[in-house]
């Protein structure tokens, strides 16, 4: 992507919604100095800046894909707000004021179940799965693309194909995950 000058907020949102991943690089460069300045003024150091900027840009990417997303401020203000949340979260980690985030718990054990799943094993299984399935599930669960966008990106005939294919892929993945655990892990 060759960018001359700045891209408007509307175009950025449009590119994110269309799933143009190259906009992530532009966003990273565009907001790096802004986020860096904020972090350095708030007790941060150089080492954490790149990670925070990356996480911020990817969070923006994901938020824009949500159906309820509505940009009511400048994108830079919105992005800086995300970065602030990321940095404060990091600060809480450093100050040992941690809260358990259920959705991102690496080793997850459901309170009311006896299932003990190793997150790293699931990650490995996901990485090794069929590429189309991996992309399809990634686009749906992480990026939040709607079925139409997924169909376009993966050259599926229509959204019904996306629905059926998504289920098949997940079922297959689930089976593979279950095969890697002993029956003893399940009651």
């Amino acid at each position: 992507m060759f960018v001359i000058g700045k891209i408007s907020d509307e175009l950025i949102v449009e590119k994110i919604k269309s799933g143009d991943e190259k906009i992530l690089v532009y966003l990273y460069k565009e907001y790096h100095s802004l986020i860096k300045s904020f972090i350095l003024k708030n007790g941060g150091d150089e080492d954490i800046i790149d990670d925070i900027v990356q996480d911020t840009v990817i969070s923006l990417w994901r938020n824009v894909q949500k159906p309820k997303f509505l940009l009511q401020a400048k994108l830079s203000t919105y992005t800086l707000a995300i970065a602030k949340n990321k940095w404060f979260k990091e600060l809480k980690k450093r100050n040992r004021f941690r809260r358990v985030d259920v959705t991102h718990t690496k080793s997850m054990k459901a309170s009311n179940t006896t299932i003990n799943l190793d997150h790293s094993i699931i990650v490995q299984i996901v990485q090794e799965m069929d590429e189309t399935c991996r992309k399809l599930l990634s686009y749906f669960y992480f990026d939040g693309f709607n079925n139409k966008t997924i169909a376009e990106r993966l050259n599926f005939a229509n959204t019904n194909t996306v629905k059926s294919k998504k289920y098949q892929c997940f079922k297959k993945l689930q089976s593979t995950v279950l095969e890697n655990y002993q029956k003893d892990d399940f009651i």
Binding site: E21, K22, L24, V25, Y28, K29, Q54, V57, I58, W61, V102, T103, H104, T105, M108, A110, N112, T113, I115, L117, H119, I122, V123, I125, V126, Q127, R134, L137, S138, Y141, F142, D143, Y167, F170, K171, L173, Q174, S175, V177, L178, F186, I187
Partner: protein, 362 residues
């Protein structure tokens, strides 16, 4: 633990927050009572977390790779730019170094530059005294006390050896060239002929003359300190040859001026006097005489049928050229020498035949 599509979609709707209202309440109530559904929900959440983690790393790597690629592409550009700039600088340095060397070596353009100055002098005679003097003084001459011994070692260089015909033609042209006379006269008027400056001017003019000679002949001139050991042309004159049967021809030419530069062609030949005997029958022809100073002290002549080169004879000496039966004789101080056509120099051979001497002396 197989999952059907309906349950799969329901769990997805619950996890994404799309499930609302009564459906949400109903699902929560089912979760409390249905252990199998709870396990399916936990498993699906765990798998989705894995999928998200993989995708998150994928996007992070994508950003990182593209940022590092652009940073990497900038470095070669900077390096390439610096390399190009350094190369240009080096080329410029080399170019100007060579250029200065070329400019210092005036050998190639020496004669043509000076010839141009001569031509301009011819056109503007009124104001050229200064220019001529400048041209003379600016000419890179090599004083005797600063002769390049390395060049002397190779003297005379092969490229400055002129053939006899070339020298003859050059001198013909130069003899007719009034520019030289102008230079001689004007420089002579311009400069005080004190001993040192006079010698310097002579050296300079000799150098210039050689340069002009070579340029006229299309020969590349070389540095004049390499010409030191060459034979030098002292003077040129034209002399009539009298056929001699029952006739005595004593037509003579006297060389008058050659005061400043005897080697140049600015030989003002003046027919001072002519003695004509009533006995001669006719004037046959004119022969060009050249007086040469041999560096090895050679006494003799070289005659090609048109030009007679004399070595070891002073130009002020009165000589006579006689012709008898298509043979040429040189008379000097009552001595008569036979002159033969030859491509090489010969020593003077005195005529000893008494009958022949008697005829020629008559």
């Amino acid at each position: 633990m197989n999952i059907d599509q309906k349950t799969y979609d329901l769990i997805n709707s619950y996890l994404s927050g799309e499930l609302q209202g009564r459906k949400l309440d109903a699902f929560k109530a089912e979760l409390k009572t249905n252990k199998n559904l709870r396990e399916k929900l936990e498993l699906q959440k765990a798998i989705i977390a894995g999928i998200e983690d993989v995708r998150l790393n994928e996007l992070k790597n994508f950003i990182k790779d593209n940022i590092s690629k652009k940073q990497n592409t900038k470095r070669p550009i900077i390096k390439t730019g610096l390399t190009i700039a350094a190369s240009i600088g080096l080329i410029l340095v080399v170019f100007f170094s060579i250029k200065s060397l070329i400019n210092n070596d005036n050998d190639s353009s020496y004669s043509s530059d000076y010839q141009d100055s001569l031509k301009s002098n011819e056109k503007t005679k009124a104001s050229e005294n200064q220019k001529i003097y400048q041209a003379t003084t600016n000419t890179p001459t090599y004083p005797k006390n600063s002769i390049d011994t390395q060049l002397l070692a190779i003297a005379p260089p092969p490229d400055i050896e002129l053939s006899d015909e070339e020298i003859t033609e050059l001198n013909k042209e130069l003899a007719e060239d009034e520019i030289i006379e102008t230079i001689d006269n004007e420089i002579a008027d311009e400069l005080e002929p004190d001993s040192e400056s006079y010698d310097e001017i002579q050296d300079t003019l000799m150098t210039q003359k050689k340069s002009i000679d070579y340029s006229l002949a299309g020969i590349q001139p070389t540095r004049n300190d390499s010409l030191v050991e060459m034979d030098q042309l002292i003077a040129t004159a034209f002399k009539s040859v009298r056929s001699f049967s029952n006739v005595e021809a004593t037509d003579s030419l006297e060389i008058v001026s050659n005061e400043i530069n005897p080697e140049t062609t600015s030989i003002q030949v003046e027919r001072s006097r002519e003695k004509k005997s009533k006995k001669f029958t006719k004037e046959n022809s004119t022969i060009k005489l050249e007086y040469w100073n041999s560096v090895v002290g050679f006494n003799g002549y070289k005659y090609d049928g048109y030009t007679l080169q004399l070595f070891g004879i002073d130009q002020n000496e009165i000589i006579h050229l006689l012709s008898l039966d298509n043979r040429l004789y040189l008379k000097k101080n009552k001595q008569i020498f036979s002159i033969e056509k030859s491509s090489s120099a010969k020593r003077f051979t005195a005529v000893t035949n008494s009958i022949l001497l008697k005829i020629l002396h008559e």
